[in-house]
């Protein structure tokens, strides 16, 4: 198992399974989550907090949609593209979703090769993930442009409730910002992996701490979270 342990975390004696193990861990000293590094714990807790942000956004959107007295624009029509002489509902969103979920796949593969210390493959797969992420953001920009050109504004749109535009721009914008930040960090971590910073113990420019291969996995946690959030946005905004 030596090759699968990342960073300075060492796995000590076997622990009792199930609830007993949970209680044993939490009543022990030093660490409540055994074998979990600080960075990973921090990312999980951050994602929990971020879940509440997206949860509040989506709940507010649903409240607005359910309580409005004017009709809500039909997403299948609004988000249809005119291709090959016919209107195909949600085609762009379907492609975007496919791209983003594919990027989760490449990210998972990058984490796998990171465990095996395969620098080249890890870096290439992370770059591919970043490329898919950037494609997603690009298609989102296209979608925004199309809607704006059709007259959708945060304060009005041609088809119904004004909250349609404002919630759409706010929620997809906030999610798109998350993807963009993810792409930037993917590029940074991929560069470090490619250069072999994690082998040579190169110190971080800002933190002056030695980086670890685990950054790939932590990056992956964030990326999968952003994908998962998209699934909820897809379900609640486009399919409802």
């Amino acid at each position: 198992m030596a090759e699968t342990s990342l960073g300075h975390v060492d796995h000590t004696a076997p622990r009792p399974p199930g609830l007993r193990g949970f209680i044993a861990d939490w009543s022990s000293d030093q660490r409540a989550f055994k074998g979990v590094s600080w960075g990973k714990a921090m990312m999980w807790i951050f994602l929990l907090s971020d879940t509440f942000i997206f949860g509040c956004f989506l709940l507010s959107y649903m409240t607005a949609r359910m309580s409005t007295v004017v009709p809500w624009p039909n997403p299948s029509e609004v988000f249809a593209l005119h291709l090959f002489g016919q209107n195909i509902p949600l085609i762009l969103i379907a492609i975007m979703t496919f791209v983003l979920i594919s990027s989760s796949g490449t990210m998972a593969m990058a984490v796998n090769f990171g465990y095996r210390r395969d620098r080249r493959k890890t870096a290439v797969l992370m770059l591919l993930t970043a490329l898919l992420g950037a494609t997603f953001v690009g298609m989102q920009a296209f979608e925004w442009t199309k809607l704006i050109s059709e007259g959708v504004r945060p304060w009005e749109n041609p088809w119904g409730a004004a909250q349609f535009g404002s919630t759409f721009f706010m929620i997809t914008g906030f999610h798109g910002t998350h993807v963009t930040i993810g792409v930037i960090f993917l590029l940074i971590v991929a560069r470090k992996v490619w250069r072999g910073d994690y082998e040579t113990g190169e110190r971080g420019f800002f933190t002056s701490r030695r980086g670890q291969y685990e950054s790939v996995e932590i990056m992956g946690l964030y990326w999968h979270f952003v994908d998962l959030v998209w699934v909820f946005i897809f379900a609640f905004f486009y399919l409802w």
Binding site: Q30, M42, L48, A64, P154, W155, Q163, G165
Partner: protein, 590 residues
Amino acid sequence: MVDVTPHGADLIPPAEVGEMELYHPHSWWTKYVFAQDAKVIAIQYSGTALAIGLVALVLSWLMRLQLGFPGTFDFITPEAYYQFMTMHGMIMVIYLLTALFLGGFGNYLIPLMVGARDMVFPYVNMLSYWIYLLAVLVLVASFFAPGGPTGAGWTLYPPQAILSGTPGGTGPGIILMLVSLILFIIGFTMGGLNYVVTVLQARTRGMTLMRLPLTVWGIFTATVMALLAFPALFVACVMMLFDRAIGSSFFMPAIVEMGEQSPHNGGSPIMFQHLFWFFGHPEVYIVALPAFGIVSDLISTHARKNIFGYRMMVWAIVGIGALSFVVWAHHMYVSGMHPYFGFFFATTTLIIAVPTAIKVYNWVLTLWRGDIHLTIPMLFALAFIVTFVNGGLTGLFLGNVVVDVPLSDTMFVVAHFHMVMGVAPILVVFGAIYHWYPKISGRMLNEFMGRFHFWVTFIGAYLIFFPMHYVGLVGVPRRYPELGDTAFIPPSVHTLNEFITVAALTVGFAQLVFLFNLFWSIRHGKKAGDNPWRATTLEWQTAGTPPPHGNFGKELPVVYRWAYDYSVPGAPEDFIAQNDPRPSTQGGHA
């Protein structure tokens, strides 16, 4: 508690995590300004919070001057009064109390008390402070913006918060307020993640969760709550910013303003109230739980007695934290909610009295037959208990729908929340500063000035807020800059208002004495030594005072017992430090 183990040293498991890589500052700038050491960050947080708190204090004087002597001061127009009130509330709740308890005490005490060299991610911790400072500067900037800061009340209820009738509503005031809050939340999240992970994953050997001092439990639980509650405020701020800046209608219904139809349409102001109070009520306990924790340690240390019912105290903290997420709508009884909702929220609200009462009983039982030293921290701790009980009792009135409806929006509410989440936590802040100042500076705070500060603050707070309950009961509404000749208000209210103002100014003066004491004692205070209170927790067992970079010497301390081994029968001294490997001969907890 943990079993009595005569050979506790044998049971300490080996270190699971290697030594943490510390950042060593190499210049004055990285040591004192862009510092990554949690202790320096703590002092930066505390200094900034106290400085902005001073602004809030002055604002409260101006408000009281207007209420006590309406019409005397020309510059306090109704608009200015609303701005003073809004900024006073916002600063006190968020920028002073939250920042001081979590950013200040959290940063200083968590690594020291759990036996860590620093927070787990010192660089992120440093960013947290600088973003907080930026938030404070944006807040201060709103005072100088055209039209002044927002006067919407600290709850910032739409639609009025962004309409022209409200000061700062159509100017930059409200925008700066919302941006400042968003920045605060981002900065806080960076620090908060550090506090949580440090407590969960970076404790020293032997430090189990159930051996943590209650201070850490309080701060830890409050931080977890803040990480889950602030998102609601964040979302509310973003949405209101959009309503105000780009004309969306999340919270804005169709409305006629100054005879003109506003461009907004179809938004829900009640939705803002839900989002705001989903943050706002946990916020009460984000401020209160650190105070609960700290006061437990103060009482135990200065009464030389173990805390009564440690385990129950921990579960009460956790229980209060969990319950506080399901009571938020008790702030909204008058918003026209369904009676069944009112019933639900009244029930959950009153259930909170159970864990809270457990805590109060346990504090009192800790004091019972203790060797009580009436030091200044102890005086403040005792004052906290009575004040919290007083403030909590009026909470029983306001938690019930039928009693709340007539009392809502009266000065009774103002008196209630000032007692329970204003005065009470601030008394703990003072007690904690008198308690830990010797560790932070190496010197004791001046005793005479301290006692003067305590008595004037304690008695003064009651002179301010007790009469205010009466003023509220006879129906004086809150947030009114002056009452005028209103028929139902008896003349005694005006006399009382003058009295309250005089008391408030006196208490305010005492705070200046306290601030002077803070600076004076750095040079002139009595030398404190490493452990002036003869306390058990790890921060008093450091290699030097103030603790050096890295907190502890070459080796991290190993913890053999809980934090409350005071007056153990048979022990040579009346306290046994947590890292003392000697077996406690009898009684006591290992």
